[in-house]
Each structure stands twice: as C-alpha cells, then as structure tokens.
C-alpha cells in the first residue's frame, strides 16, 4: 500500500524526492518500533527545521510515519518513527526503482 500517486507512477512520488527519500531511508535504518528525535534527524539529514517539518508532515499525512511530541516548553521532545506502511512503501519503492533501472 503506497501513496495516492503510486498507481500512476511506478516510483511513489511521496518518496521519490531527495529530501523525503533521505528521511525514509534514515528511519528505515532503525529497528522496527524505534523512533528518532527531531534534533538528531535534522543533524543527520542536514535540512533546516522548517524544511524538515514540511517534508515530515507530507509523509505523516500519507501514514508513512508517526510524529510524537512529549513534554512542554524547553523540555519538549519530538520523535519521528517509520510506520509499517512507511516501511512497506519504501520496500515497494526500492523494488520499483530496481525494475526501472533494469529497464534503462
């Protein structure tokens, strides 16, 4: 099960964007059920906070990841985790990418 554009485009347009591909690939490197803090993700991905939030929201709206905020004020912490749907979407995307490259 992938994003809305997945039927028309073999490469899921939600993932087939450099920034979002990096986000999904980074989260997929964690064991299932683990979440990554927004701060560390920003360091690893190298995007500005505003840019990162925009991409995260798009992926969250598609159900590919979950964003959880805990605490208040300076003690607040935002964690991002890849959902089962997001992991499956990345697997589908990887397989589709392989097929596309084979056909080139």
């Amino acid at each position: 099960m992938t994003g809305a554009g997945a039927q028309a485009d073999p490469l899921d347009p939600l993932i087939h964007v450099p920034a979002r591909l990096r986000i999904v690939a980074t989260l997929a490197a964690l064991p299932g059920g683990d979440a990554l803090s927004f701060t560390r993700m920003q360091k690893m991905i190298g995007l500005t906070p505003g840019n990162l939030i925009t991409h995260l929201r798009k992926l969250e709206d598609a159900g590919y990841l979950s964003i959880e905020k805990t605490g208040n004020g300076v003690a607040s912490r935002t964690s991002v985790a890849l959902s089962h749907r997001g992991r499956a979407a990345l697997d589908t995307y990887t397989a589709a990418l392989r097929d596309v490259l084979t056909g080139l």
Binding site: L11, V17, P18, A25, L30, P31, G32, G33, D34, G46
Partner: protein, 219 residues
C-alpha cells in the same frame, strides 16, 4: 555536513526537475549506509579499544602468574590492573552506546536493558561458581586460574550466541561462538597459560570483528 547534503540534492535532481532513478538509487544506498554507520553499535573503533583492553587485562594477569609452581593465582598488583582495563572497556562501551543511541527511543532501547540481565547473571554466576569450588576444596589452579579466565568467555559467549541465534544475527553468532571456543580451548593451556591464550585469542577475535565491520561498511 549540511553542504554535503545540499550538494547531493543539487546533483541528484536534473535541470527539468525530474529526479533521475539512477541518482535516487545512489542516494538511497548512500543514505542507508550512512545511517547504519551512525546507528551502528559496537563500532569498529570500540572493537579495537576492547581488543587492546582485553589483551592488556589478561596479559597483566598472565605476567603475574607465569612460572608459578604451584599455581597460587594472580598477584595483588595484577588484579587492580585487570579491573582498570575492564573499567576502560566499560567506559568505552558506554560512550559508544551513547553515540549510537543519541536521540533514539523505543522498543530496542527497552530491550537493551532486558538483554543486560541474562549477561550479568551469567557473568556473576562464574564468581559464585568460584566460591563454590573454593568451598569444595578445589585447587587454586582451578578456582583462580581456569574458571575465572575461561568461564566468563564460555558463559557470556553462550548467552550471546543464544540471543544472536534467535535474531538470526550471523555476525554476532559467529563472534559469540568464537568466544566460547577461545574460552574452552584456552583451558588446555593450564592455569597460567589460560590467561595468555584467552587474552590473545579474544584480542584477535575483536580485531577480526573490527575488520569485518569495516569490510561490511564498504560492502
């Protein structure tokens, strides 16, 4: 770091805005590999630090017991050295774990604490066994030689092997079986020689682990 990512993005998206599949495949592979390296625990550097620490710890004891006849056990000076090197290795493990797990939360963090329980129990059981053997009148060669040198490697290695087998983690399973083999095999070297053989064996195994980790990174 940011410049590197920006450069990636500029070079992977073509002028017409299309994201080239070949560039996508490369970016996916690079990002996955980079993330795995950053989350990796233990790191190859930690393996090398552990290799040096175990060689120094076992070596210090071996130097203090070689030539003893009859065998009486490690000298009072060797034991602080042994525990100092164990402490160095423990601090290195803690720092490397903190590096890898920074910002990571969830199931595997909770499981890490659960995993520590059987390993700690197995390790402590060796010292309880030493006490029991001493109480039962076994010689110092057994109680202060074979058991403390080979015992921890066998029990901790066996516990790690069981854990790795359940997860089908062949890299850890191979390492754990190697530990068990070194522990059991080095016992043939006698109460003094066991320290030397176990120290060199563990050091070689840890260096091999570091080499395999680096090789797998290059994949």
């Amino acid at each position: 770091m940011k410049e590197e990512h920006d450069m990636d993005e500029r070079t992977t998206v073509a002028e017409d805005g299309e994201f080239d599949p070949r560039a996508a495949a490369k970016l996916l592979e690079q990002t996955s590999r980079r993330a795995q390296r950053q989350f990796e625990f233990p790191s190859p550097l930690l393996s090398l630090i552990q290799a040096a620490a175990v060689l120094a710890a076992y070596g210090a004891v071996w130097l203090s017991v070689r030539g003893q006849n009859p065998y009486s056990g490690p000298s009072g000076a060797a034991l602080p050295e042994l525990y100092a090197f164990v402490a160095v290795a423990a601090v290195a493990v803690g720092l490397d774990g903190r590096r890898a797990r920074a910002g990571v939360s969830g199931r595997s963090s909770r499981q890490a604490w659960m995993r520590a329980i059987p390993f700690t129990a197995a390790f402590l059981a060796v010292y309880v066994l030493m006490g029991a053997l001493l109480y039962d009148g076994f010689s110092h060669a057994i109680v202060y030689g074979i058991v403390p040198a080979a015992g921890p490697l066998i029990v901790v290695g066996a516990a790690a092997a069981g854990y790795a087998a359940a997860r089908e983690d062949w890299q850890v399973l191979s390492f754990a079986i190697g530990l068990v083999a070194i522990g059991a095999g080095s016992a043939f070297a006698g109460p003094a020689g066991v320290w030397g053989f176990a120290g060199v064996g563990c050091c070689a195994l840890l260096v091999c682990r570091a080499i395999v980790q680096v090789w797998l990174r290059r994949g």
